[in-house]
């Protein structure tokens, strides 16, 4: 399985691995800050953003869609905050109002407009199209050293790698304030941390991961990867640094196991069709969480 794997399997694996790690990194802090469902909200509102971008530009191209999705994510965060403050509604309910409405608007826009000639539909948005991200120009493992065929990699690959490195750099640079606002926001404020700014940047970063990952892997995997690896790691350790590294390893592990299970398990069992890779990766991340919730060393609350 040399050249065939490089052409058909390598890029989906790499893309979902980078997507998983890019989502898990900000997820660590969101889980600690009790903002876990922000990821859920963002991955729902990405759809209207992309539809509006398509309607405005009339084509399915990378940058307008990324901008549309990012814009929708920011608008939703602002609207949630506005309803919460002006209407004195609790956070969860305000979020429920906004993300369902924006998703509904996105679906209706999509159904009303003529998108039959482009590959844009609700199921694509939810499940992703991991299986179509192939690297036909490759010619075995040697292609990895050939700049000409490297340039033919699917654009989602470069997008995901860039997103992952931007998010890693942010986490590295703002490590101290991030940890502070995650564990004790009041204390962080007293020693002069710009908690509001850092908190907002964290949400923007999660949105960036979600938007970059969404096109390739779909929104289910985004929510699962923002939450499951960090939650799993949290039950295994008390040290935040270890937790973050563990969550990256778990995201990577879930991707590899899930991808193999989706692609080869049915073949080994004698069926000819593969399963949804995105769905399988998220399922594996859930199984890992279940495992650590039963056996994890630090699974219990410290009273």
């Amino acid at each position: 399985m040399g050249s065939e794997f490089v052409a058909l399997g390598l890029t989906p694996v790499l893309i979902s691995a980078f997507a998983g790690m890019a989502c898990a990194l900000p997820g660590n802090f969101l889980v600690l800050r009790k903002q876990a469902l922000i990821g859920d909200a963002i991955s729902h509102v990405v759809l209207p953003g992309i539809v509006v971008a398509y309607l405005l530009t009339g084509q399915v191209s990378t940058w307008p869609m990324m901008l549309g999705a990012a814009g929708a994510a920011v608008i939703s965060v602002v609207l949630i905050e506005m309803i919460r403050r002006l209407g004195r509604i609790e956070y969860g309910a305000a979020m429920g109002v906004i993300f369902t409405t924006m998703f509904a608007a996105g679906v209706l826009l999509l159904e009303q407009s003529d998108t039959s000639r482009v590959h844009l539909d609700v199921e694509h948005a939810l499940f992703g199209n991991l299986e179509t991200l192939i690297w036909l120009q490759s010619d075995g493992w040697g292609s990895l050293l050939d700049p000409l065929s490297l340039a033919q990699l699917p654009p989602q690959f470069f997008r995901m790698v860039i997103a992952f490195f931007v998010i890693s750099a942010f986490t590295y640079i703002f490590w101290r304030p991030l940890v502070l606002i995650s564990f004790d926001e009041a204390y962080a404020r007293t020693i002069g941390t710009q908690a509001t700014v850092i908190g907002f940047l964290l949400v923007v970063l999660a949105a960036m991961a979600a938007v970059a990952a969404f096109d390739a892997v779909g929104s289910i995997i985004v929510i699962a990867m923002i939450l499951c690896p960090p939650a799993t790691a949290r039950l295994l350790t008390n040290d935040i640094k270890t937790q973050v590294f563990l969550s990256l390893i778990l995201a990577l592990g879930a991707t590899l196991i899930g991808y193999v299970a989706a692609g080869y398990l049915p073949l080994w069992l004698g069926y000819s069709n593969t399963l949804s890779a995105a769905g399988m990766i998220a399922t594996v991340s859930g199984l890992l969480l279940a495992f650590s919730a039963i056996y994890g060393r630090h699974r219990k609350r410290v009273i």
């Binding site: 889980v31 009790k34 903002q35 876990a36 469902l37 990821g39 859920d40 309803i83 002006l86 209407g87 609790e90 969860g92 309910a93 305000a94 979020m95 429920g96 109002v97 369902t100 409405t101 998703f103 509904a104 608007a105 679906v107 209706l108 159904e111 009303q112 609700v122 199921e123 939810l126 499940f127 289910i220 929510i223 699962a224 923002i226 939450l227 499951c228 939650a231 949290r234 039950l235 989706a262 069709n273 593969t274 399963l275 949804s276 995105a278 769905g279 399988m280 990766i281 998220a282 399922t283 991340s285 859930g286 969480l289 919730a293 994890g296 630090h298 699974r299 219990k300 609350r301 410290v302």
Partner: protein
């Protein structure tokens, strides 16, 4: 066309669907109110996404036994079972591990939904599965709904609403005052369980009409909208029920005349329309009412401060205060007080003196609670003539002491 749908004269099926959607909306509004008041609104998100694997599994099992897996009752039973399992996992993770509830909700909803997608890819391979149209459960579709399906949803919605109605009293008590209801011997855990089971029933029944992704909206938005209109549980409950029913009714009617569109999003946008109206125009808690209150308060403060300065013969520099006084005719354009201005200033000063004396008395006897802004109100409308008389005597005595 729309009028025909709204007046229920668009055929038997459409009528059943519209009635079913209205009843479902009413039940969702009620159940959602309790979820919201128990600060548990987003658990419905986990319940609804967790239905997908059950849906797929029920189809596969039915297919394995050679039954037509499209039978709605079979599909709904499977969905209900897996939603219950998801709910159990959320509670288990929150209780047994140190993960918070929102993390547990997010993990369960994404993993269950993902596993459901895996099952869907299996079903799509089966020839019967390809035309089963299970995707219609994602966003809801009433187009081409069978008569028996519509009837089933209608009957089950009536049962759900009845169950909620029977347990209304204990649920309301727990929502309103948990401690008190415990002393009456009502089990809070059991009431929470009933609320969640009704939510589950609403979710599963709503799958065909609203779709499992958006049923959350029908549970959250009417309740949140109703909260703007009142502080009383009863009124909130009735309003939310009405809002839910209205959204289901109008939404399914619009959808009946435009069969190409999925029903769920239309119903959700109807919900949002009612929310927006409540958010802006509700008395007291609505945004406009709050802004108006703020404006009135600001005006009263400026006026009182300006009149007090006039009474003390101090110059007024604040441009807003100047404008206000001039417009009301209390000062002339050159800043000199008019006759009405002078008499009102004296009255305001007296009011202020009386209030501050009253405040001192309250403070001495430890009855002053909080920082109430007294001097903006006319004391003669707030206290009895006897009280004012004693205040005046006290003030006169004080003035005598000073002289």
């Amino acid at each position: 066309m729309l009028w025909a749908a709204l007046s229920l004269s668009l055929g038997y099926n459409a009528t059943l669907v519209t009635l079913g959607a209205s009843l479902l909306g009413a039940a969702a509004g009620m159940a959602g109110t309790f979820l919201y008041l128990r600060k548990n609104a987003l658990i419905s998100d986990a319940i609804s996404h967790a239905t997908l694997p059950g849906l797929g599994f029920a189809f596969l099992v039915a297919f394995g036994f050679g039954i037509d897996g499209r039978q709605l009752l079979i599909l709904l039973s499977g969905s209900a079972l897996s939603a219950a399992l998801g709910l159990y996992f959320v509670n288990w993770l929150t209780r047994e591990t140190r993960l918070t509830q929102d993390t547990a909700i997010g993990c369960v909803l994404s993993v269950f939904f993902a596993f459901g997608v895996v099952l869907l890819t299996i079903i799509q391979v089966i020839p019967a599965g390809r035309k089963a149209g299970l995707e219609s459960f994602l966003l809801g579709s009433t187009a081409g709904m069978l008569y028996s399906d519509a009837l089933l949803i209608l009957i089950l919605s009536i049962i759900t609403a009845l169950v909620l109605f029977v347990f209304l009293r204990p649920i309301k008590l727990v929502v309103f005052d948990q401690g008190y209801s415990e002393t009456l011997g009502i089990s809070v855990r059991r009431v929470d369980f009933i609320i969640l089971m009704v939510t589950l029933a609403v979710t599963v029944l709503g799958m065909k009409i609203v779709g499992l992704i958006l049923i959350v909206a029908l549970l959250i938005i009417p309740a949140v909208s109703a909260r703007f209109w009142s502080e009383r549980t009863n009124i909130i409950l009735v309003t939310a029920t009405l809002f839910g029913a209205l959204s289901g009714y109008i939404g399914s009617a619009i959808s009946a005349v435009s069969p190409g569109l999925p029903t769920g999003p239309i119903i959700v946008l109807c919900c949002f329309g009612l929310f927006l109206f409540s958010f802006l125009f509700a008395p007291k808690r609505g945004v406009l009412a709050v802004a108006l209150d703020h404006y009135r308060f600001q005006k009263a403060v400026h006026l009182t401060q300006g009149l007090l300065s006039m009474a003390a013969a101090q110059p007024i520099y604040e441009p807003k205060t100047q404008r206000l006084l001039r417009r009301l005719g209390y000062i002339r354009a050159d800043g000199v007080a008019t006759e009405t201005g002078k008499s009102l200033a004296a009255k305001t000063l007296l009011n202020e003196k009386r209030w501050s004396y009253w405040q001192e008395i309250l403070k001495e006897s430890d009855q002053l609670d909080g920082q109430a802004v007294f001097n903006l109100m006319d004391i003669e409308t707030k206290l009895t003539p006897d009280q004012i008389k004693s205040i005046d005597q006290g003030l006169a005595l004080k003035q005598g002491e000073r002289m």
